[in-house]
Symmetry: C2
Subunit: 288 residues, 2 copies
């Protein structure tokens, strides 16, 4: 007897506004000739491959670029020092910094002007956090988890901004600790709505299925965070970049399968995964 | 066999800096002639009686006062409208607003100028909160417990100050909720150190005795809060204003007795309680 299986895609899975805008503009710009992007445009190797084939080349720094070359600033933004370098080299700048990241940068700059010691809640090495720190000043502190605050000295005035893709629960735990460590605390909650909505939809879906697939780049911080959320819900969770990674044995005994995807996961990749999962239960073939 | 009994006084019990300063200055001022105090100088009926005998008279409003009369502004402070009335009546103002309350007033004023919607964490009817609201503006919201926030609409910018004698745990719970209700949150933690220290010392003492006595005015908010803290520690707790209220049966079976007192409880009242408790276990007489 064939067991019925249900595949459910989470609301809000895939590209957010900032990523969609960056991808669309990059493709348009590349139609007029080669463009360079400082670091991969998004944290999704499959989409970055597709972009390269269309003329969007990833560079690690500005050294090889010549005056007049077109430089894309990706959605994560860059510190002001990099913008200055690009201007000094007379590059044509296509600034695709996500407007929500731009807000976090401006709030960080304002907190610095107002004399606050700044805490950025986020991942130290993430390019978005690096871009925000550029505006927050050299003595800004990056805090990833409440444990990072152990031993931190009390400060009179603390200013706080967040990486736009942070989970609210981690952010609020850190703010609560910072409240204890200061007499004056100014907090800009710069977590973007689309992150919160995607995380809520993912958590809710994980709660009512047997297993979860999270689709997106292994180098994508927001995708990895969705994996953690699903595991916190106690569900077996598989982080995959593409459909080909799905293994038949993972699906054994699962009658409801949830699928979600990070903000940098293109629709065509998500579609591929959904198609494979549907086939996986119509055919009796092993998936690979 | 006589059972040994230990009486332990909490650290930091009794007058805080602001109250001590107010009492001392009021006595000095009254030595030069009658002075008026708008509302009881402190929330301790026994000490207010003593002050009256020395020439510090409590008035409920400014109506009966004449130009040149001396008016004490007590440690809780007053809204600016009352200060203006006093100036308009040409009263001689002796401003004994606690400097920490003065800070909360100034921070509230600054938040108002900066355009924040202001939340005062404290008791709606407490004169200190009323004085702070005078600086926070008419649309300020007073929040006593996190439950007060139920149904509150999200605000873009919220500014927060606290009644100086709030408990930190209640304050931080409320701040956590306000973080969820705003995109920008500026918090001045105006709880005074002496409150925190007294509460911590009380909690720690309550944890290691059999019963607790909390000495202070029944109209004293900070004293009442000490009672709650002791009960949260699971200890039988008696709120008394004076030694005469102690009943022998309360002491049955208690080998360790803790005593603490609010910020407005005079030393002579605390001493009276300690003396009675010591007698209570040396003599075999019922306490009253």
């Amino acid at each position: 007897m064939k067991k019925s299986r249900e595949i459910i895609l989470a609301d809000k899975a895939g590209f957010c506004f900032g990523v969609k805008r960056a991808i669309n503009t990059a493709f348009k710009a590349a139609a007029g000739g080669k463009v360079y992007c400082l670091g991969p445009l998004i944290h999704n190797p499959q989409e970055v491959d597709r972009l390269r084939r269309e003329g969007v080349e990833t560079v690690d720094d500005l050294k090889t670029l010549k005056p007049g070359d077109s430089l894309i600033i990706r959605s994560h933004g860059v510190p002001p020092s990099v913008l200055r370098q690009a201007h000094d080299k007379d590059l044509t700048i296509i600034d695709l910094t996500c407007p929500f990241v731009g807000k976090a940068q401006r709030f960080a700059e304002r907190l610095q002007i107002e004399g606050y010691r700044i805490v950025v809640v986020g991942e130290k090495k993430h390019p978005e956090v690096q871009s925000i720190i550029g505006y927050a000043g050299e003595d800004a502190i990056v805090v990833e988890t409440p444990a990072d605050l152990e031993g931190m000295k009390a400060q009179r005035r603390l200013g706080v901004v967040a990486q736009t893709t942070q989970s609210y629960s981690n952010f609020s735990e850190i703010v609560l600790e910072l409240l204890r460590l200061s007499k004056e605390l100014k907090v800009y909650n710069t977590i973007c709505n689309s992150t919160t909505e995607r995380q809520n939809a993912t958590r809710s879906l994980a709660g009512r299925v047997d297993i979860m697939f999270v689709v997106g780049g292994r180098n994508s911080a927001n995708t990895t965070r969705l994996v953690s959320l699903c595991r916190e819900e106690g569900k077996p969770t598989y982080h995959i970049e593409v459909a080909d990674e799905i293994r038949q044995e993972w699906l054994q005994g699962a009658s409801k399968i949830g699928v979600t995807a990070g903000a940098s996961t293109p629709d065509w990749v998500i579609e591929g995964v959904l198609k494979r999962l549907r086939e996986g239960h119509t055919s009796k073939q092993p998936v690979r």
